[in-house]
């Protein structure tokens, strides 16, 4: 009897401690099956890190879902090309009224959903209206500005906004603009139905998602007949899968220090460009000592960004001085505003009377945040700060502590959404707790103005943000991919939310 109970206790302790140990590791799942059927030359297997939790991006957040489905399974009225321009998709052309309130879209005639229904303006109106009524993820608010959606004819749609908004058309290129069939939204979590060049063939949970070429696609047919997305939690397993031929492409390199094994190998191409992922050293702007601008400035002067990027991300990435990646039209190089200057950092800190102040740097347990956190700590300590570095399990613990409760002084997180300067710093209730009316006005003016005004106001906003030292920008994450030689069409810069398969081919 006694040894039975001891044994039970042992088992429970073992399970509990495994859970405790693993709950410190972030993320979702992984795995591999055999390659899909069909002509081997027309099959592509892409290795990625994060698997979607569900296929329904109307109700589940996360970049992994649109990465696979947007532009591939779902079309929008408009899409982003590799240079970041808004180009036609299901809308062949569109006109904007002079008051910039009404958009008239001409739609393609012969697009069909994978459930056999023909795409019409009715479906487009249904999809846009459905964002307000049925979506739950936060991005739905980009449709708040829509006042009325009118079906003019089966191939013409008119959208009226309550105020002019440049951001609205841009957001139509993202998942919020995906077009659904009126009769095809019953089972979005497992059975997505779109008009795109691919359809979902199979989702092997914890393992892979297989897309198959849609042979009744209305546009130019893509090269690959079958595309497998395979998910690898472990960066080494992802690298090994390419080295042993299980996959053809590493979609996002998770460990840049491991790139050497591919750069020196003639069998592979390494692609490096920019992404939308700004690695932000965020400050809690509403809480002392960061309510004092001099302390924020001292932090920015105290960080040697080049050295930091070399140490914690193998020198791969781009230094940025504000919340704008170089692929946005209003990008300006602002890295000169706060050059590395230890003496200045020390004197600013002294002036503010905060020498020796303790900052809680609470980072998510993600590779870049953990390694950069250590560098930030040691650099700030040289300038006279004391830094307490905490690692929080991502996403759950970090979201609760830093994001929801703002119980932190500094954190490090990569904000990956395109054009997210307004989301991250525009609202005082966001976790950065940044409240600057001049900055908010510039954002509003940019959204409502002409394109020329938008450019001016966005530049102004980005500069204001940086001068005010609302945060520090450690670096911009690179778009790093490795592919078998001969795979063409992979984008240099990652701009859209989608891993767009249509330009890809094998030479």
């Amino acid at each position: 009897m006694r040894h039975q109970l001891t044994r039970t206790a042992t088992v429970l302790i073992a399970i509990a401690s495994t859970l405790a140990a693993t709950s410190c590791a972030a993320g979702s799942s992984t795995a591999v099956t055999s390659k899909g059927s069909g002509d081997a030359n027309q099959t592509l297997t892409v290795g990625l890190a994060a698997e979607p939790a569900s296929l329904d991006f109307t109700k589940t957040d996360g970049a992994a879902i649109p990465q696979v489905l947007l532009y591939n399974v779902y079309d929008g009225l408009v899409k982003l090309n590799n240079s970041g321009e808004i180009t036609p998709d299901l809308a062949t052309a569109w006109k904007v009224s002079t008051d910039r309130l009404t958009y008239t879209f001409d739609l393609v005639k012969d697009a069909k959903f994978s459930n056999g229904q023909t795409f019409s303006a009715e479906d487009a109106a249904f999809s846009i209206n459905r964002v307000k009524t049925d979506w739950t993820i936060s991005l739905k608010k980009s449709m708040d500005v829509v006042k009325e959606v009118k079906v003019v004819s089966p191939t013409q749609l008119q959208v009226t906004l309550s105020k002019p908004s440049n951001n609205w058309l841009y957001s139509m290129t993202s998942r919020v603009g995906a077009m659904f069939s009126k009769t095809g939204v019953a089972n979005l979590a497992t059975a997505p139905i779109g008009t795109g060049p691919y359809t979902l063939k199979n989702w092997n949970r914890g393992d892979s998602i297989t897309l198959q070429r849609n042979d009744s696609y209305w546009g130019k047919k893509p090269f690959f007949q079958t595309v497998n997305f395979k998910y690898f939690k472990d960066p080494t397993a992802l690298n090994n899968a390419l080295l042993t031929g299980t996959i053809n492409v590493i979609g996002t390199v998770q460990a840049p220090e491991s790139l050497a094994q591919f750069t020196n190998n003639p069998k592979y191409d390494v692609i490096q460009g920019t992404s939308n992922g700004e690695v932000v050293l965020s400050f809690n702007n509403s809480k002392a000592p960061f309510t004092d601008k001099r302390v924020r400035q001292a932090v920015r002067y105290a960080i040697d960004h080049k050295a930091l990027m070399d140490t914690c991300w193998a020198g791969r990435g781009t230094l940025i001085g504000s919340m704008v990646p170089p692929t946005d039209p209003w990008y300006e190089d602002l890295t000169g505003l706060y050059p590395y200057d230890l003496a200045k950092a020390k004197s600013l800190l002294q002036e503010a009377g905060k020498t020796g102040v303790t900052l809680r740097l609470r980072v998510p347990n993600l590779p870049y945040a953990v390694s950069c956190g250590q560098v930030v700590k040691s650099q700030l300590e040289q300038a006279g700060f004391k830094v307490q570095l905490d690692q929080l399990e991502f996403p759950a613990a970090w979201l609760t502590t830093v994001f929801t409760n703002a119980d932190y002084d500094m954190s490090i997180i990569s904000h990956v959404e395109p054009r997210d300067i307004g989301t991250v710093f525009g609202s005082p209730s966001y976790y950065t707790r940044y409240n600057n009316p001049a900055f908010q006005q510039a954002l509003t003016a940019a959204d409502q103005g002409t394109q020329a005004q938008q450019l001016v106001e966005m530049k102004k906003a980005a500069r204001l943000l940086s001068e005010d030292a609302a945060a520090d920008w450690l670096f911009l994450q690179p778009n790093l991919m490795v592919a078998d030689k001969g795979i063409t069409g992979l984008p240099k810069n990652a701009i859209a939310e989608s891993f767009d398969l249509s330009p890809l081919a094998r030479a």
Partner: protein
């Protein structure tokens, strides 16, 4: 015998009840909000609150506990918070994968440990016995995931004999299935074999010192045949106990090895669930593992009686 069985069943039921409370308690103190994780960083507080209500997370803990256990008793495992898919089929799906891994590595462990452990015992005064003993000591010290990484580096990346990772169901492509199973099963099996070898050795050593073994040798049997004919059955009682315990270790070791070899088994399901705070799913998987381990122990207890008729009298 009947009394013993009733006693065992009562212990099993009590252990299950206590475990369910511990598992549930552990889940409810885990930091992080499933609804917040599901909705992502920019979700409004209202939508988080309404999702919490949809998940039933706003009810008192006691009522949550009883509706969970009530569901389990009716074999109704509920739906996952995140994927909204029923949990039962997901566990069944992943279990098929993990069982192959666990059973194969168990077989590997036994096939290696029983002959080598017996040899070590028979040769325990010779140099070769010492060498084997030292080798098994090294094996005990290596965790399975490290063995896995070493095996991948040598056999997959450098020699290219076997795939580095992945999983194919046996029905889909049996050859690929065996190739992909080989390395993970070996990394779990070798480490378990090292542990098991040491138990086999000491158990056989004990048996070798028994009077009936001396009698067997006196009759003229050589050491190995004597052991095979008279000793093994006696030596197997403690070894079976350890095997039962090892099954638990294997299930848990598989969690990590599945990650290293990118295998979609129960372990990856559990890890994903923990990370996305899919508490329903995690609770069910952990409870399933607990039930499996307790049942194995229960069966092992009954097995003693089969192996050793002396225990049938009820005394020990």
């Amino acid at each position: 015998m009947t009394l013993r069985l009733i006693e065992r069943i009562a212990v099993l039921a009590a252990s299950l009840a206590v475990s369910s409370i511990l598992v549930f308690g552990f889940m409810s103190v885990l930091p992080g909000d499933p609804a917040r994780v599901a909705l992502g960083v920019n979700a409004s507080d209202q939508s988080v609150a309404s999702l919490r209500a949809e998940f039933g997370l706003d009810r008192p803990l006691v009522s949550q506990y009883f509706s969970w256990v009530g569901g389990l008793l009716r074999l109704h495992l509920g739906d996952s918070y995140i994927s909204r898919a029923p949990i039962g089929p997901q566990i069944a799906d992943r279990l098929q994968v993990t069982l192959w891994l666990v059973i194969t590595s168990m077989v590997i462990a036994v096939l290696i440990a029983v002959p080598i452990g017996s040899l070590m015992a028979v040769w325990h005064r010779r140099i070769s016995g010492l060498v084997l003993s030292a080798a098994s000591q090294v094996g005990v010290a290596i965790p399975a995931f490290l063995a896995g990484i070493l095996l991948i580096t040598v056999f997959a990346v450098h020699l290219g004999w076997l795939p580095a990772n992945g999983w194919t169901p046996p029905a889909q492509n049996p050859a690929m299935f065996l190739k992909q199973l080989a390395l993970p099963a070996l990394s779990l099996g070798l480490v378990q074999a090292a542990v098991l070898t040491r138990y086999v050795r000491s158990s056989v050593l004990d048996v070798l010192r028994e009077d009936y073994m001396r009698t067997a040798r006196a009759k003229g049997l050589r050491p190995m045949p004597a052991l095979l004919r008279h000793g093994l059955r006696n030596a197997s009682v403690p070894v079976v106990t350890v095997l039962g315990l090892q099954l638990a270790t294997l299930l848990i070791g598989a969690v990590v090895v599945e990650r290293v070899f990118v295998i979609p088994g129960l372990g990856s399901l559990l890890l994903d669930g923990v990370s996305s705070r899919d508490l329903n799913l995690v609770q069910d998987v952990v409870m399933f593992l607990v039930v499996a381990v307790l049942l194995v122990n229960f069966v092992v207890d009954l097995l003693y009686v089969v192996i050793d008729p002396r225990m049938r009298a009820g005394g020990r």
